[in-house]
């Protein structure tokens, strides 16, 4: 007689011959499936051909899902682990999926319900918006386009954000339940897609209508000091030499402090990214300096990063123009907008492979602005 495996395993287990006659069956198997003479009789009719096909592959152990009729209910989902041995007997272990399965069902049912509540009209408008944005990305956006876009975006963004945010919350909640199913990538796609749309919209709102600047007289040296404070550790971490040259303390601009910081930080981040994109390991360097330039203050931001080609330079300030995988392409267009609102301008000079210089011109404050 064939050597029998250990039947004390606390799981439904069958031992069968080539005709799938059941030779032995564990206690658990009896409890769950009842007594059967042949293994086929406990398989749901519609998955018998699956079993037939897979069980015939005798040379390697098989694992697959199968629907089995239990004493309790028909067509329950099981994971089957099946292995033939040399004397043409086969061990079949059946692990019920119900727990895992139920979780997933619940999760997806809830998600589907949410989909049912999605406002499809908004969705269509969102897609239109994105299409428009894609077009804009190609053409060099003019200011009136920007205004138009801003109008549309502002009307849509608020409405869209709410449902999207709630879906994201939901999906994040569900993610842990789905890990085992290896379908996380699906969830990831949803989350990142939603994040992307959200961030585009948020950023876009900023571009389209930056809050009217709350202007005050600011010594440029103050601005630089704050910048240094904010970025010192980050640049150390990236092994970049951040040089902020001393500025004449009497040099003042009349500007919104937060917006100016946003501009300088955007520039700094671009510079850091340009350096980290360098193929070789030359030491990255970023230098900030400021000096009087007629009625203006000129702020120079210089880096020795990858630089940019003609094509990039001409599209630089267009919203959504980016050469980065994860960029929104809104950084510089926002900067441009802000500086413009301050009565200033930005220009750029760059040599591919060597580096880039941005110059920001802002009106100086010679005397204290009159109080009105």
């Amino acid at each position: 007689m064939a050597v029998c495996p250990d039947f004390s395993i606390p799981a439904p287990f069958f031992y069968v011959n080539t005709f799938y006659d059941i030779l032995y069956q564990s206690e658990d198997a009896k409890r769950i499936f009842g007594e059967h003479a042949n293994f086929f009789s406990l398989i749901d009719v519609e998955s018998r051909r699956k079993f037939q096909r897979l069980a015939e592959r005798r040379f390697e152990p098989q694992k697959f899902e199968l629907l089995l009729n239990t004493v309790q209910s028909p067509a329950m989902l099981f994971d089957i682990h099946l292995k033939w041995n040399r004397d043409n007997h086969c061990s079949i272990l059946c692990i019920e999926q119900s727990q895992r399965y139920q979780q997933i069902t619940e999760v997806l049912t809830r998600f589907t319900q949410r989909l049912g509540m999605t406002n499809y009209d908004l969705l269509r408008r969102k897609e239109e918006l994105e299409r428009l944005l894609a077009n804009l990305q190609q053409s060099n956006a003019q200011n009136d386009r920007l205004v138009e876009l801003g109008r549309i975006a502002a009307s849509i963004a608020h409405e869209i954000r709410n449902p999207l945010t709630s879906i994201r919350g939901l999906v994040q909640l569900l993610a842990p339940n789905l890990t085992s199913s290896a379908k996380l990538s699906y969830i990831d796609i949803i989350i990142s897609e939603i994040n992307r749309v959200n961030s585009i919209i948020t950023e876009f709102l900023k571009t389209a209508k930056p809050a009217p600047p709350l202007k005050e007289a600011i010594p440029v040296t103050d601005l630089f000091a704050e910048l240094e404070l904010l970025c010192h550790s980050e640049s150390l971490l990236q092994g970049i030499e951040l040089v902020i040259l001393p500025v004449d303390p009497s040099l003042m601009i009349y500007a919104d402090r937060l917006q100016m910081k946003q501009v300088l930080l955007n520039m700094l981040h671009n510079a850091m990214e340009a350096i980290s994109d360098l193929p070789n390991s030359r030491t990255g360097m970023i230098q900030f300096e400021a000096e009087r330039f007629g009625r203006y203050v000129q702020i120079r931001i210089e880096d020795n990063g990858v630089g940019m080609d003609e094509q990039t330079r001409t599209h630089l300030f267009s919203p959504f123009f980016t050469t980065k995988n994860s960029g929104t392409g809104l950084g510089l267009s926002t900067c441009y907008h802000i500086v413009e609102l301050h009565g200033g301008t930005i220009d750029v000079e760059s040599t591919p492979g060597h580096g880039t210089v941005f110059r920001i011109y802002l009106p100086t404050v010679d005397k204290k602005p009159e109080l009105s």
Partner: protein
């Protein structure tokens, strides 16, 4: 996948050209990827190419799901993948209705659709709802967990002229009998449709005699419903 006589997808797609079959397979893979947007783009592309929406809902979606069922048989995917593809189909159906079907403006209920209580397969039913709505019939869908007595209560209250029942799993087939018997007790005579791929296995014999034969229809697929709506269905004119 091998084209064997045993393969449901190939059996069901025998009438189609190879190129449509390939399209459907391609569609099935998009569904499995869980990418709603791409799936929707696929649908819109077919519409642009001149494929009639009836084909999308009666052929493309059902056959893509059948193909997916065959992938499971082949052990190429798991039930979780089927779930994901089903979610995407749900999305497509809802989105199509939202975008292309103007809801009939009557405030009553002209048709009702439900799944046999306990059968979780509802894509067939949802597609039937879509076809009925598209035909201008204000249709209510009662879902997959609607017990028989709720179903009856709803029908008695609204008196829809069409009552449709969807059944997918073989072991739920016998319940259909209970439904049909109960529907006989109604104080009026709606058109009754029972839809399901296995419906030909059902031999309905009522203890109380069959419901009016003219008004009971067994349909194996959605093409039959679409055809029936176009040709045979004559709504009773409200007096």
């Amino acid at each position: 996948m091998n084209a064997t006589h045993n393969n449901r997808f190939f059996q069901a797609s025998l009438d189609l050209t190879d190129s449509i079959r390939m399209k459907i397979i391609q569609f099935a893979h998009i569904l499995l990827s869980g990418d709603e947007r791409k799936s929707w783009e696929f649908i819109e592309q077919q519409l642009v190419n001149g494929i009639h929406s009836t084909e999308i809902f009666c052929t493309y979606i059902p056959l893509a799901m059948t193909y997916i069922g065959e992938l499971w048989i082949e052990n190429a995917i798991s039930v979780v993948d089927e779930h994901i593809a089903s979610c995407v189909c749900d999305y497509l159906i809802m989105r199509y209705q939202a975008q292309y079907i103007t809801p009939p403006d009557q405030q009553n209920c002209q048709a009702v659709v439900a799944c046999v209580d306990g059968d979780p397969h509802e894509l067939g039913a949802k597609l039937a709802v879509l076809l009925l709505n598209r035909h201008g019939l204000q249709t209510h869908y009662l879902g997959v967990h609607c017990p028989l007595h709720h179903f009856l209560a709803f029908i008695s209250k609204w008196r829809p002229s069409i009552v449709a029942l969807s059944v997918t799993q073989s072991h739920h087939l016998k319940k259909v009998q209970d439904y049909l018997e109960a529907l006989q007790g109604l104080p009026y005579q709606p058109e009754i449709i029972v839809g399901g791929r296995l419906i030909h296995h059902l031999s309905y014999t009522s203890s109380k005699g069959a419901p009016n034969k003219q008004r009971l229809f067994f349909m194996q697929n959605l093409h039959e419903l679409a055809g029936w709506l176009e040709q045979d269905y004559l709504p009773i004119k409200p007096e």
